[in-house]
Amino acid sequence: MMLTRFLFERIDRGGWVFLVLLGIAAVLVPVLNLAVPPGSMFHVSNTAVGLWGKYMTYALLAIAVDLVWGYCGILSLGHGAFFALGGYAMGMYLMLQIGPRGVYAHPTLPDFMVFLNWTELPVAWWGFSSFPYAMLMVALVPGLLAFVFGWFAFRSRVTGVYLSIITQALTYALMLAFFRNDMGFGGNNGLTDFKDILGFNIQSQTTRAVLFSLSVLALMAGYLVARAIVTSKAGKIIIAIRDAEPRTRFLGYRVENFKLFVWTVSAVMAGIAGALYVPQVGIINPSEFSPANSIEAIVWVAVGGRGTLVGAALGAGLVNFAKSWFTGAFPQGWLFALGGLFILVTLFLPKGILGTFTDWWKRRGETRKPPTASPASQPAE
């Protein structure tokens, strides 16, 4: 009850629209995919379900990035690391579900370990055959890494571009590490050839439709949590830290604790997004850690509008839709488009699509209304 109130009481109109649309999608897309025959114009193709499911996990990652960047001013160039770690945790569970059905038909060891002549499961893999344990790790591993990293970084007041660069170094170091075979996570091939999840065939269209719906639900939950945080008093302090960190400190707030809190929450969110991503795309490999991926997530948020949450999610969808279209139509053109997007958005659309739209909408409302003594009345709290 407390929690529901905490989550739902401060959602604005745009937020409700977003949630309702997502809720409809979560129900309608699987239905249109599974129940409507392929010939019908209302049929949603299998490819589309997979693609949109992927976008949903990206959108969740975008909300996680927006939470730290848009609201707290921490430009993380390493959020892909948390996403990938969540993905690996899920991948390890899926790997152990293969059991003796691998190429080498080893009863317990995944193929790549047999290939490396290993005889037993490394300690890091223990327990991953249990789904609850794996799900715990999906949240815990990125969360813990973020907590430790943030604990040191925020305490030492590493800020601005320095922080950005070391987050990039973090994900780069992880990428190098995961590329190594002896790390025990499949080296550069990563984890793939998954068979089933909780006993359901991962290839079956029903499972895939359910995974889609789960991704939408996770996105909704992520939005609710993020929204609740940023509209709480703590959220106001987080915004205050973004705009005037010393002032916040001199008011007696422990800036590093607030930063650590959003940072860790955001990392967990990214980890969950990664965990949902892996069963839908069927593979996780070290390239997910590559710094370029993390920066791409930044541009989703920048395009959609940072500090808007809904905009971040929209941005993730739009940019990735454009990416899919470009790689089909002009494979050469995509990097030009993406690079151009970075430049144009930062130069001409600093508030992103949604931010600019909201501004315009507000201004339109103001010019219509007769000028009053106290402009722009705030929604009652």
Partner: protein
């Protein structure tokens, strides 16, 4: 002008001007001594030849005749005799024997060599022999073959080519074959090249040490010679002594081995430092432009790596052009590429500054994103233009090869890059310290607003500083094209490392960048043998991440209120 002076000197007789003398007699005092010693040596050689001449001719005939036999023992004796005689025909005769082309005529014991076209020449004189009648081949067995191998080695010890002599001595050092000893002694007696002589003496020492019959004192003395050699081969030699070796000799060998290991460890550390400095120079080159743009303007230029890449591609284009227009200039192509790369990258840098970065000052995170966008565009542009595969850049001849200093192998390309990095660094330092532009740049670094108030056109300073930083990245690209693959991804490989260097060194301090680059380079090379290349790099990244926590503004940070 030069030519006329020289011809004047030539005509003027009796002049003592140095350049009128023939080479070898330049300078008065030294020239005389040299001429004298050369003359003496020549006379000596002549005397020896005259004295040795007739006796040799007779001996050779007898030596060669000894091959005309069915007895293997006699053949072995003939091979050994011929090999140590120093006879000019020894080599072809022994080679012919090895290939089964040595024959003799039973009637008069004359020996011939059958040539590949089945004609015959006299073994002794090498002159063609027309009618030779029935001949028998000189027979071979394993004993003979062994003797031949030793003889070839011995002959090589006396070969006119110094490289052949050196490798023959090395071969003996490794084989420690006692039978080579006489030939070795003879060769040591004749050898004039001190370097080869030393090798031969080491080979002799190896033979002595390995010889169980040699006197203990001799063997221990020989161990001393081997210890002075002090390389891995010497270590292997000392380690290979059989268990039956007398204890005294073994002790000497063991202590010598310990000594060698110690020296080798020092040399290895030296080699690591050298490799580290070379890697550090690469890092310095890649990072120093970034240090300028970040230090002066507070701009994080994510497209910096692409400037490096553009420098490398400029080198490629310059070399392609030279190949078509003036192939003779290939060896100086890099010197043409350097200014071109500086200009091309610098111009692109200025364009980026004017078009994009200018609008984003005071928003470092946005600048970071926009320049990342630029880097994607540049990468893709190069990929579209030049293709995604590696482009081949020629290494000029003076940059290949290596020299040895002690046990240090110094490759020319590493050396060239280190020297280049030093020159770039020093020039930049001088430029910033001594030129008006440098002064303005430093003024802007320290207090942008005050500099602006004093009439410095900060926006021009910004544009040119950015151009300078990018131009230097272009120079780095020329250097990197020599050691790395020239591909569109070249810049990506260096950008994170460059940032680490700048952040580690502290912003706005070129010396900090230098120290950071060298520290990271050397640390990397020392970590590599223990941790492997990748893990070493990860460890360094983790180290820097931790270091930034401790000193958020790097090694050499500016302090005080001005920083904020």
């Amino acid at each position: 002008m030069n030519a006329s002076t020289r011809s004047g000197l030539d005509i003027g007789s009796g002049t003592l001007r140095p350049c009128s003398h023939p080479p070898g007699a330049r300078g008065q005092g030294i020239g005389h001594v040299r001429a004298l010693s050369a003359a003496l040596a020549a006379a000596l050689v002549a005397c020896l030849l005259i004295l040795a001449g007739p006796a040799r001719a007779q001996d050779h005939a007898a030596l060669v005749q000894r091959f005309a036999t069915e007895s293997f023992n006699d053949i072995v004796g003939a091979v050994n005799g011929l090999a140590t005689s120093g006879a000019p025909r020894a080599a072809p005769i022994i080679e012919a024997l090895r290939d089964g082309r040595l024959v003799y005529r039973a009637s008069d014991r004359a020996v011939f060599i059958r040539r590949p076209d089945n004609s015959f020449v006299s073994a002794l004189s090498g002159e063609p022999a027309a009618e030779i009648g029935t001949t028998r081949p000189v027979r071979l067995n394993n004993n003979v073959r062994r003797a031949i191998d030793a003889a070839v080695g011995a002959l090589s010890l006396l070969h006119p080519d110094p490289a052949r002599r050196a490798s023959a001595a090395e071969a003996v050092f490794k084989s420690r074959d006692g039978s080579a000893l006489p030939a070795l002694e003879a060769a040591i007696g004749q050898e004039r090249d001190p370097r080869i002589k030393k090798l031969m003496e080491e080979a002799r020492a190896a033979v002595v040490v390995a010889n169980p019959q040699a006197a203990e004192a001799d063997r221990i003395a020989a161990i001393g010679i081997i210890q002075r050699r002090g390389d891995q081969d010497a270590l292997a030699m000392l380690g290979s002594l059989p268990a039956t070796t007398p204890p005294l000799v073994r002790e000497a060998a063991e202590s010598a081995a310990v000594g060698i290991r110690r020296t080798l460890a020092v040399w290895e550390a030296g080699q690591n430092v050298w490799h580290g400095i070379s890697l550090g120079s690469v890092l310095l080159l890649a990072a120093i432009g970034l240090a300028i743009t970040f230090g002066v303007m507070g701009v994080i230029n994510m497209a910096h790596g692409e400037m490096v890449m553009i420098g490398a591609y400029t080198t490629f284009v310059v070399q392609q052009t030279i190949r078509v227009l003036a192939p003779g200039l290939m060896d100086v192509s890099l010197f043409i590429a350097l200014p071109m790369a500086f200009l091309v990258a610098g111009a692109i840098g200025i364009a980026i500054e004017r078009l994009i970065i200018r609008h984003l000052y005071g928003r470092p995170l946005e600048t970071l994103l926009a320049t990342w966008g630029v880097s994607l565009v540049l990468q893709q542009a190069v990929r579209t233009w030049f293709g995604p595969t590696n482009r081949e850049v020629t290494t000029p001849s003076w940059m290949s090869g290596s020299i040895e200093i002690g046990h240090l192998a110094i490759t020319a390309n590493r050396l060239a890059i280190i020297i280049f990095a030093i020159i770039v660094f020093a020039t930049l330092l001088l430029f910033l310290k001594r030129t008006p532009f440098g002064l303005q740049t430093r003024a802007v670094t320290q207090n942008r607003r005050m500099a602006g108030a004093m009439g410095i056109r900060t926006n021009w300073v910004d544009a040119f500083t950015f151009g300078l930083g990018s131009g230097i990245a272009g120079l780095a690209g020329v250097a990197l094209s020599q050691i790395d693959n020239v591909s569109p991804n070249l810049g990506q490989a260096y950008i994170i490392d460059s940032f680490m260097v700048v952040v580690f060194g502290g912003v706005g301090n070129l010396w900090g960048t230098l120290v950071a680059a060298m520290t990271l380079g050397i640390a990397n090379k020392f970590l590599e043998p223990y941790a492997g290349a990748v893990l070493g790099k990860i460890l360094l990244l983790v180290f820097i991440i931790l270091f930034i926590q401790k000193r958020p503004r790097g090694l050499f940070a500016l302090k005080g209120r001005a920083v904020e």
